[in-house]
Symmetry: C2
Subunit: 235 residues, 2 copies
């Protein structure tokens, strides 16, 4: 029942699409990264396609045969059970989805440290506010979120215990992103969440993830995505 997926996402950033790319990589799924193959014009055209029965508000979205699924966490909900990245029973599925939505909240808050005023403005136009937002953010939010995941990891090497799920892949990506964006601040906090750090390393070493990360498919972090390195926000 091998299905060839199409992923629709911007070609120049990891962004929210990366959480989907990591799940597809770990699953060994066959997919075409439409944005990278045909450019961002193809993404815009797909978004504006009038005949689309289930149009997305924004990328990422995937096509799986006749099905179109949008919203990062929703895509992972769909892919998870199909590719062994989520439990099959309802309670387990809801739990991993809950973790993913909590990560999504953390990711949005992290993004907003460099865009506190508006998405549509450049960072340079909200730099003073960003400094204040980043300082406030680092007073408590990463401790609170990472502390929450640290506590869950008392049960085993992965968030669900012994079994890898898509939420682990996303937590890896969050750690990688925070390290890129805030290297100094992360160094200080990592000591306090050793299990989270170990999980991130465990995920990075999984053969398919390691191969993906070493490939050209992995777009480098940059100052257009969710996790951006601005020295002045890292103290």
């Amino acid at each position: 029942m091998a299905m060839r997926y199409e992923l629709y996402y911007w070609p120049d950033i990891q962004g929210r699409g990366e959480f989907v790319r990591l799940a597809l990589a770990e699953a060994g799924a066959d997919y075409v990264d439409i944005g990278r193959r045909r450019g961002s014009g193809a993404i815009v055209a797909a978004l504006e396609r009038r005949r689309e029965k289930h149009p997305s508000f924004a990328p990422p979205f995937i096509k799986a045969g006749r099905l179109t699924v949008g919203q990062t966490a929703n895509i992972l909900l769909y892919l998870g059970v199909r590719h062994g990245l989520a439990p099959k029973d309802e309670a387990g599925r809801l739990w991993v989805h809950q973790l993913q939505l909590t990560l999504a909240d953390f990711i949005a808050e992290t993004h907003d440290t460099h865009h506190p005023i508006a998405l549509a403005l450049y960072y340079e136009d909200q730099r003073r506010e960003s400094k204040r937002a980043a300082a406030e953010f680092w007073k408590r939010r990463p401790h609170k979120y990472l502390g929450y995941f640290e506590r869950l990891l008392e049960q085993g090497p992965y968030l669900l215990g012994r079994r890898l799920s898509y939420a682990d892949l996303s937590l890896f990506q969050v750690i990688a992103g925070l390290r890129y964006a805030f290297p100094k601040r992360m160094k200080r906090i990592e000591r306090k969440v050793p299990r989270v750090v170990a999980l991130a390393e465990r995920v990075a070493k999984r053969p398919r993830i390691a191969a993906y990360l070493a490939s050209e498919q992995r777009i480098p972090f940059n100052e257009l995505g969710i996790f951006r390195h601005y020295k002045e926000l890292d103290e």
Copy 2:
């Protein structure tokens, strides 16, 4: 198979819990609003409960027998199929969930107009930034989001066409909240999205929703929740 749910959410605000309360009301479900019955101390205690197998990062969460489900959209995913507020087929379930997650993004952006710098700070401590954030927000975000839903409503009276779903209840709540927080700005935009406005009215008139809205269970909007009225942010 009638189940008595327990809803865990803060007792003094509509907040994110309200999206769940509306779904429970429309479903005619039997539930105990734990926060309102026992106070916010009971919510904090439940959050900190060490033996909890699936602890939530934050409220709302619900208990359904031995199952605990957190994250607003995830709770609705769980309740939806059980109470006829979502289609039973996978494609339909994913689509209504996608709409809910898009509404969640809109809600978070709306909230951030009065808290652009930090959740932990008072509005008064981020007032200048809020003015800028609210002005930028109103330049395009409500038009873009509501325009998206307006387009979907070309297919029928509800977002899925002829059938009510939990996403319709949430869109009603968003409109009610925006009207409360930004009465002037909303007046101007409502003309452009007549189908969305009609949907909100349709939902408000559903017998169980109308009864709920008229009851004491409906907490009035206030300046502690997601939708807050600050005159200076409404121009």
